[in-house]
């Protein structure tokens, strides 16, 4: 069964560094999403992406964040200058245009030191 994959599974970085989290959505899905979960807290929506542009973003998704679909398979989340409070699990999800269910990847744990 096709699934969403994410790399790396765990990323450790120094505060102020740039990180890129990578996701490979399911191949025939065209809606893409990023969510994050700070340790011990609920999952929060960051951004949705369709047709090579952002459809919706939350107030968390400020100028430090960007998303990109650099090729036909990858969907990336970039954090330009990481802060300690960016430490979280980041989940990618994808969805078919005509369907209702979002499929989640296993997540990338980002630790900012």
């Amino acid at each position: 069964e096709p699934e969403v994959t994410q790399t790396p599974s765990h990323q450790v970085t120094q505060m102020g560094q740039e990180v890129i989290l990578r996701c490979v959505p399911i191949s025939n899905h065209l809606y893409f999403y990023w969510y994050r979960q700070i340790l011990g807290q609920k999952v929060e929506f960051l951004v949705s992406f369709y047709n090579n542009e952002i459809s919706e973003k939350s107030e968390i998704f400020d100028d430090q964040f960007s998303v990109e679909r650099p090729d036909g398979s990858n969907f990336t989340l970039k954090i330009r200058s990481t802060k300690l409070e960016d430490s979280a699990m980041y989940f990618c999800a994808s969805k078919k245009v005509e369907a209702n269910e979002q499929f989640f990847g296993p997540g990338t744990r980002l630790t900012v030191l």
Partner: protein, 117 residues
């Protein structure tokens, strides 16, 4: 804006006992409703979903949930809990965006389930 309330932060049940996890939502239209389960350090596994139609939905692992529009609730139930059900459970509502079938998920804060032998 949509919101989800899970009033129980932590629930402890004995193995074999029945379980009900509560979820209330706030949304102006008929929502998409979901229950996810998360084991420590793991990702989100979808247990069940409601989009329309029959208000009692069946999911994996013997779970079911009932959508009650009058109460804005979508409570999760299981008749007999197994030790392997110990995990954190998240209720989520899907709120449609500006057009098409796109929507973002808003999650509750979760209910941690402990199962005693």
């Amino acid at each position: 804006a949509q919101s989800v309330t899970q009033p129980d932060i932590h629930i402890t049940v004995s193995e074999g006992a029945s379980l009900e996890l509560r979820c209330n939502y706030s949304y102006g239209a008929t929502p998409y409703l979901f229950w996810y389960v998360q084991s420590p350090g793991q990702g989100l596994q979808l247990l069940l979903k409601y989009f329309s139609g029959d208000t009692l939905v069946q999911g994996i692992k013997g779970f079911e949930a009932e959508f009650k529009r009058s109460q804005s609730s979508f409570n999760l139930r299981k008749p007999s809990v197994h030790w392997s059900d110990a995990a954190e459970y998240f209720c989520a509502v899907g709120a449609r965006g500006s057009g098409g079938s796109n929507y973002k998920l808003t999650f509750g804060k979760g209910t941690l389930l402990t199962v005693n032998p």
